[in-house]
């Protein structure tokens, strides 16, 4: 009943309105009711997203248009006519025009419902979890702000605005991580997250500038006669891409965009901030650091897939980063004792999977990546919320060594956590299996013609095994074994209130059915996005689905093997695992994994200390050298004065003598000079 353009505006507007209302009124009036406007707004925008999804899905792309897209311009952000980029490719001097334009195409329509649905569930969950916290209203204001920024990030149609909401989402995560600002670790973690994101944005900004200089515009869509970077005209004949950006620029733009994506989605070089982000409240971790914000990087790479297609080396780099991060995160997650840290590293690992899929460079790979993103959002949010309810029960203690056998105390959390773990491990009926299968299939197809993709395939399988192992380990250590409860909790360890259990159940159901229902339909829907529909990406024959029995078999075997070994070690009396740990500690491998491969320390030594040293040095220079020079200039007149002071001896005859000498000098010059 709503017209498409008004839908597109309403989806981000509702959470913003709610955030402003709670922000202004929350402190004095709403207090404990400040969740009401936010939850309603999120639910509303979720319904609108579904309506938009239905509206876009039944639009048929006409012949000459590549894919389906609807753009709606709100107002002009900045317009500098003829800002002038003088490159041979661009004939007229383009003007620097940035308008606030929203777009709706299958890719956005897939992301919007996912984000809003999970956000609503998390908001409901947080009613229970954050109950009684003095900053209750502040939490919901930030959540509203975050969902607004995320929905805008996904539906904006200009690189500059993508950068804008890229950083806006970063700020919301800064505010939410540092929610309990009295805790110094939380404040430091918030700052760390923001700075690492900023480093990522450093690369992203340069990508932007290169695009502006090469294309003469930053718009995705075509605005008037200006051809958008991913506009219809360019996508119609992708050969012109090769003409516009050639050689090193073709490699530079995708890599720089990848740096931005790494910063946001916590990939290998810039992954250090995500585990520390666990300092924030758990609903935040569930919403932001599992389901929505971290996926922004994957969304952006998919959106710009035509740019990535230009240079195979770029795709390889993306794949390698993805594969390596997956493996690395998997290894670290093995020895983590903090349940949330385990889940954090599993998120980094699964994101690595998605980038690996995108890196294969085939349409099937991209679709697999997006599908894995879609399913991962659900079961990872479920796992985080499960961990949250454990913390809620265990008086905020999440160290797995302090408790075990909680299945008796929290049956519902245990059941839903089990479903989530199995989904993550990739057991057959559940969501994880189908999406991981598609990813492995894509990598397998690419591995046919040899080259590095073969090793990536093997590392992917190994990571699958590791994922299964550490998920099962986490589940067994928490819920299996004798009931041990940390002394602070005393005797009142309890199941979480219904407000927290309901989202768990809903997410569990989704984790079960999402995989099967959307296995093929999601792919067919996404392919109609303009950037994916163009021949450069889709190739001649588009997307065909065929189920790889062999890969499905391998992944299931590997998953079951992982769970079995975990069961062997962690069920029962754990003698073997303790022995194995001691061996590993002997050979220092255990420390390596537990201390997160010392990346934090490396970065501290490589970047933080040198810069602080340089800062101290430059302050010294400023105080002594630069200021010294200025004072020197100030000192010269005084020095000259000090010398000249001595002629004023006070004796009259000295003065008379000096006067006569001056006169003699004058007369001497006029005799010698003979001028005039």
């Amino acid at each position: 009943m709503f017209e498409t353009k008004s839908l597109m505006v309403l989806i981000p507007a509702l959470p913003l309105a709610a955030a402003i209302i709670v922000g202004l009124l929350g402190r004095r009036w709403l207090k404990e009711y400040s969740h009401v406007p936010v939850v309603l707004a999120l639910a509303g925008s979720c319904v609108f997203s579904l309506l938009l999804l239905k509206d876009i899905s039944n639009r048929e792309p006409d012949a000459k248009q590549v894919g389906v897209e609807v753009t709606h311009t709100l107002w002009t952000w900045a317009a500098i006519p003829a800002a002038g980029v003088t490159t041979p490719q661009i004939k007229a001097t383009p003007n620097f025009q940035i308008d606030i334009t929203l777009r709706a195409d299958p890719l956005t329509c897939m992301m919007l419902p996912m984000v809003t649905f999970i956000a609503t569930l998390v908001a409901i969950y947080a009613m229970g979890y954050m109950h009684g916290d003095p900053g209750y209203w502040r939490f919901y204001a930030y959540v509203g702000l975050f969902v607004f920024s995320m929905t805008m990030l996904v539906s904006v149609s200009n690189f500059a605005l993508l950068y804008v909401f890229w950083e806006a989402v970063g700020v919301c995560s800064y505010l939410l991580i540092g929610f309990w600002f009295e805790k110094p670790e939380a404040a430091a973690a918030g700052k760390k997250a923001f700075l690492v994101n900023r480093v990522g944005d450093f690369g992203f900004a340069f990508g932007l500038f290169l695009i502006w200089v090469s294309f003469g515009t930053l718009n995705f869509h075509d605005a008037g006669d200006v051809q958008g970077v991913l506009g219809q005209t360019l996508l119609a004949n992708p050969a012109r891409y090769a003409e516009i950006i050639t050689g090193s620029v073709a490699l530079a733009i995708p890599l720089l965009l990848m740096v931005g994506a790494c910063g946001k989605s916590a990939q290998f070089p810039l992954h250090v901030w995500l585990p520390d982000a666990m300092e924030g409240p758990t609903p935040v971790s569930a919403l932001i650091h599992a389901a929505t914000m971290v996926t922004a990087g994957v969304y952006m790479v998919t959106r710009c897939s035509p740019l990535f297609m230009l240079d195979p080396r770029a795709q390889l780099v993306v794949a390698c980063i993805g594969g390596f991060t997956a493996l690395l995160a998997g290894l670290i997650a093995l020895t983590q004792t903090d349940l949330k840290r385990v889940l954090a590293y599993s998120t980094v690992s699964q994101l690595g999977y998605m980038f690996l899929a995108l890196g294969t460079g085939s349409l099937a790979g991209i679709v697999a990546g997006m599908f894995h993103l879609f399913t991962h959002a659900f079961f990872k949010a479920l796992l985080f919320l499960g961990a949250g309810s454990v913390m809620h029960g265990m008086h905020h203690i999440i160290d797995m060594r302090r408790f075990s056998g909680l299945r008796r105390v929290m049956p519902w959390t245990c059941l839903t956590f089990l479903i989530g773990s199995l989904a993550l491990a990739g057991i057959v009926p559940l969501a994880g299996f189908w999406s991981k299968d598609q990813v492995l299939a894509a990598v397998h197809d690419r591995a046919h013609d040899g080259g590095p993709f073969v090793y990536l395939y093997y590392s992917a399988v190994l990571t699958a095994f590791l994922t299964a192992f550490y998920t099962a380990r986490a589940f067994f250590m928490t819920f299996m074994g004798p009931l041990v409860v940390p002394h602070e909790v005393g005797d009142h360890a309890h199941e979480s209130p219904p407000a927290m259990v309901f989202p768990l159940v809903v997410l569990a159901i989704c984790s079960i059915f999402v995989g099967i229902t959307f296995d093929h339909s999601l792919g067919d829907f996404i392919v109609r996005t303009p950037s994916l529909a163009c021949t450069l990406v889709a190739g001649e024959h588009g997307l065909e689905h065929h189920f790889h029995w062999d890969i499905a078999a391998i992944s299931t075997v590997v998953a079951v093997l992982g769970i079995a070994i975990a069961a062997y070690f962690y069920l029962g009396d754990r003698r073997q695992i303790n022995a194995l740990t001691r061996i590993m500690q002997g050979v220092r491998l255990y420390g390596l994994s537990n201390r997160k491969f010392f990346f934090d320390e490396i970065y501290h030594v490589l970047f933080v200390l040198p810069l602080k040293g340089l800062a101290a040095l430059s302050y010294l220079i400023d105080r002594w050298l630069v200021d010294g020079l200025v004072n020197l200039c100030g000192w010269i007149p005084r020095a000259v004065g000090a010398v000249l002071r001595n002629i004023q001896t006070g004796v009259v005859q000295f003065y008379a003598l000096a006067m006569v000498l001056g006169l003699a000098l004058l007369i001497g010059t006029l005799l010698v000079w003979k001028v005039g």
């Binding site: 002071r645 001595n646 001896t649 006070g650 004796v651 009259v652 005859q653 008379a656």
Partner: protein, 148 residues
């Protein structure tokens, strides 16, 4: 041609007078003598003026000379009053006494004793008979030279 030659003679003498006056003003330390030297400079000027007047057959020069004389008389009057007051304060006519007004960091002007004629006969140290108070030479007390 005689005229110009005659003029040059006068001018030379005038210049000499001026020079001597100037040197006198610089070297002597007695205020009265300094003033006299200044007057001598003016005399030199007057002589030159009269010579030029004579040469140009114009009375301008001589009128100027008369003006100079009157002004010199005024200055003489003022000087005498001034010197009388200064003598009243310091007891001698030495210009070098007046050097209190000087730049902050300048040392006091010490009047180096010019080695007088008595340097010829050195005073050997003589043993004074015990018990007699050595008599103090009056001149030693004054830190300035008596005959200025």
């Amino acid at each position: 041609m005689l005229e110009v030659q005659l003029l040059y003679n006068y001018l030379v003498i005038g210049a000499l007078l001026f020079g001597i006056g100037l040197v006198g003003l610089l070297s002597r330390r007695n205020m009265l003598i300094m003033f006299l030297a200044a007057e001598m400079m003016l005399q030199g000027v007057s002589l030159s003026l009269v010579a030029f007047g004579r040469f140009h057959n114009d009375w301008g020069g001589t009128t100027l000379v008369i003006l100079i004389l009157t002004v010199a008389a005024c200055e003489a009057a003022i000087l005498l009053a001034l010197v009388q007051c200064l003598f009243h304060r310091t007891g001698n006519l030495d210009i070098a006494v007046w050097h209190d007004l000087r730049d902050a960091n300048q040392p006091k002007f010490i009047d180096q004793e010019v080695p007088g004629d008595d340097a010829a006969k050195p005073e050997w140290p003589t043993l004074t008979p015990a018990g007699i108070e050595p008599e103090v030479d009056a001149d030693e007390a004054l830190e300035h030279r008596i005959h200025v």
